[in-house]
């Protein structure tokens, strides 16, 4: 077993262990943190499989952005664990049934010849000047250009939909227009009033001695 294989098994073990921890831990923040660890070790597994670009993008998108927001929400929510556990025994048989069906389905699918180990021989290791980024780019923009552009379009629609669903202008909120603030002149805000000086101002002068 060489070093790359050792690393693969190590990160695979961490991945599985942290994935188990995500669903078994009680504290939701800790679960979220273990999910981050799971993503991170998945990225490490991909690196050992020579998919360095995808691995870094996984860290960038999921660990760096998605999970930050996720953790944000989980930290702010006051989750009542007792209420969550209320229906546990009631839903246990149904959950067990669903899990059983899924396991059977997965065994049926993966035991076919399509997914046998012989179908996936170990790829030849690439030379050091092999560029993962370039290969991926040329595949995406030639062979798979239509699905790629469609996915981009769907994502764009999703962004616009999410913004338009949540963007409601509530009444009574105060807004600033920085352009107006910059353009303001002293004459808009300040009025110099000319007044006649009052003829006599009574002044009480405190002498030095009195102050003492």
């Amino acid at each position: 077993m060489d070093f790359a294989q050792l690393a693969l098994y190590f990160y695979g073990t961490v991945l599985v262990a942290s994935a188990v921890a995500v669903v078994t831990l009680r504290n939701p923040v800790r679960s979220a943190l273990f999910l981050i660890l799971a993503f991170f070790s998945a990225a490490c597994v991909w690196i050992t499989l020579e998919a360095e670009f995808l691995a870094i993008v996984l860290v960038l998108v999921y660990v760096g952005a998605v999970m930050v927001l996720f953790l944000f929400i989980v930290m702010m929510l006051d989750i009542n664990l007792d209420r969550l556990r209320e229906g546990f025994t009631r839903y246990l048989p149904i959950g067990f049934l669903v899990a059983l069906v899924m396991v059977v389905e997965m065994i049926l699918v993966f035991s076919t010849d399509e997914f046998s180990v012989e179908q996936f021989p170990r790829p030849d290791p690439h030379l050091s000047d092999y560029s993962n980024v370039r290969e991926l780019g040329s595949l995406l923009y030639t062979t798979y250009v239509l699905p790629f552009e469609l996915a981009a379009l769907i994502l764009l629609v999703a962004i616009i939909a999410a913004i338009s669903l949540t963007h409601r202008r509530r009444s009574g909120t105060l807004h600033q227009n920085p352009a107006d603030q910059v353009k303001v002149k002293s004459s808009d805000r300040l009025r110099v009033v000319k007044m006649a000086a009052s003829p006599q101002v009574e002044q009480t002068e405190i002498t030095h001695e009195e102050e003492r």
Binding site: L33, I36, V59, A65, V68, F72
Partner: protein
């Protein structure tokens, strides 16, 4: 000497390479940590001169040993654990912020020869690690179980996410111009004098990148995460001693990292401004360090010049100014590259 050499030859190959790698890592880390220490000294001195004060001048000649004294003081202080904190996460948070700040240095090319790992997607690697750094702050804020720390964690999380987008788009412009994701290739694409450096054709992106970098490192005028006058010291309000020092180290290491990246991406890396004789006599590594110091000076200059941004203004600047600017400039680059004017952007 012979016995050492024979011992070295006797070691297995993998152990030899591990030892060499460790030595190289130390060779980057030690100057970096020293750089952080003297960055604090430079910061105090520069701000003092801008305020017409003297700055630290008691420890050593002109206060030059002040950072050492500060470090020793922090090391000998006790680390206090707040009673209701999550002690495990409380302890791991400073390491989580320091780890990415140091790990990113693995791919930084100091000259065209001096680079620890020359990977193909090094620009993405740096971006990914700088986005991971926010976890240290968020976890510290949550684990401290303190209002101020928690508010700070929220603020810095939101700030990091919004400025990372602008930063990422600015980098997209750079990689379009250079045609590579490799930091070394990007620097080499700017060869041939100051007029080839990317800060000229990509000027809006240069400004956006640098200002976003200042915001990402939570430096003034974007330091709402620390905001002494509002939330005491933010996420590290409960930290003391070495744990606090680690946060400090991470913040300054990130600052130097942003400065180094700005130099590599926009200011020609290790290249001399004019490829003629008096400039080329200075070695490339010296040019790199001079430029990094110049960029770092701007961090200090900003701190002494600008008041802190209000929080909604930070968000406005990130989302409504920087992101549109970068998107427009990316389109400009993409279109210009197809016209005869494309030579400007390469």
């Amino acid at each position: 000497m012979d016995s050492i050499l024979s011992l070295w030859a006797w070691l297995p190959i993998w152990l030899q390479s591990v030892i060499i790698d460790l030595l190289l890592i130390v060779a980057i880390m030690v100057p970096l940590i020293l750089g952080v220490a003297y960055m604090t000294y430079a910061e105090r001195k520069v701000i003092a001169f801008m305020h017409v004060r003297m700055g630290p001048n008691r420890v050593g000649w002109r206060g030059l040993l002040q950072p050492i004294a500060d470090t020793l003081k922090l090391i000998f202080k006790e680390i206090i654990f707040p009673k209701n904190s999550n002690s495990y996460l409380f302890l791991i948070a400073p390491m989580l912020s320091l780890g990415p700040a140091f790990a990113a240095w693995a791919v930084i090319p100091f000259t065209d020869q001096l680079v620890l790992t020359n990977i193909d997607a090094s620009l993405l690697y740096v971006l990914a690690l700088s986005s991971v750094g926010v976890y240290g702050i968020i976890i510290a804020g949550w684990a401290s179980n303190s209002k101020y720390a928690f508010i700070s964690a929220m603020r810095s999380g939101a700030q990091m996410i919004s400025y990372e987008i602008a930063m990422g788009f600015a980098l997209v412009g750079v990689l379009m111009a250079a045609g590579s994701l490799n930091l070394k290739e990007i620097a080499l694409a700017q060869e041939g004098g100051i007029h080839q450096w990317f800060f000229l054709p990509l000027f809006p992106l240069f400004i956006v990148y640098f200002v976003s970098g200042v915001a990402e490192t939570n430096r003034l005028p974007f330091d709402v995460a620390e905001g002494e006058s509002e939330i005491v010291a933010g996420f590290h309000v409960e930290y003391s001693g070495t744990a606090f020092a680690l946060f400090f180290l991470a913040e300054y290491a990130n600052m130097i990292l942003i400065a180094a990246l700005t130099v590599i991406l926009f200011l020609g890396g290790w290249m001399a401004p004019f490829p003629i004789i008096p400039f080329t006599l200075i070695p490339p590594i010296a040019w790199f360090l001079i430029k990094v110091c110049g960029v770092l000076f701007f961090f200090l200059w900003f701190r002494a010049s600008f008041p802190r941004y209000r929080y909604d203004q930070i968000m406005r600047l990130g989302w409504k100014v920087f992101i549109p600017v970068t998107i427009v400039w990316i389109v400009v680059i993409a279109v210009a590259k197809l016209t005869p004017l494309g030579f400007i952007f390469s």
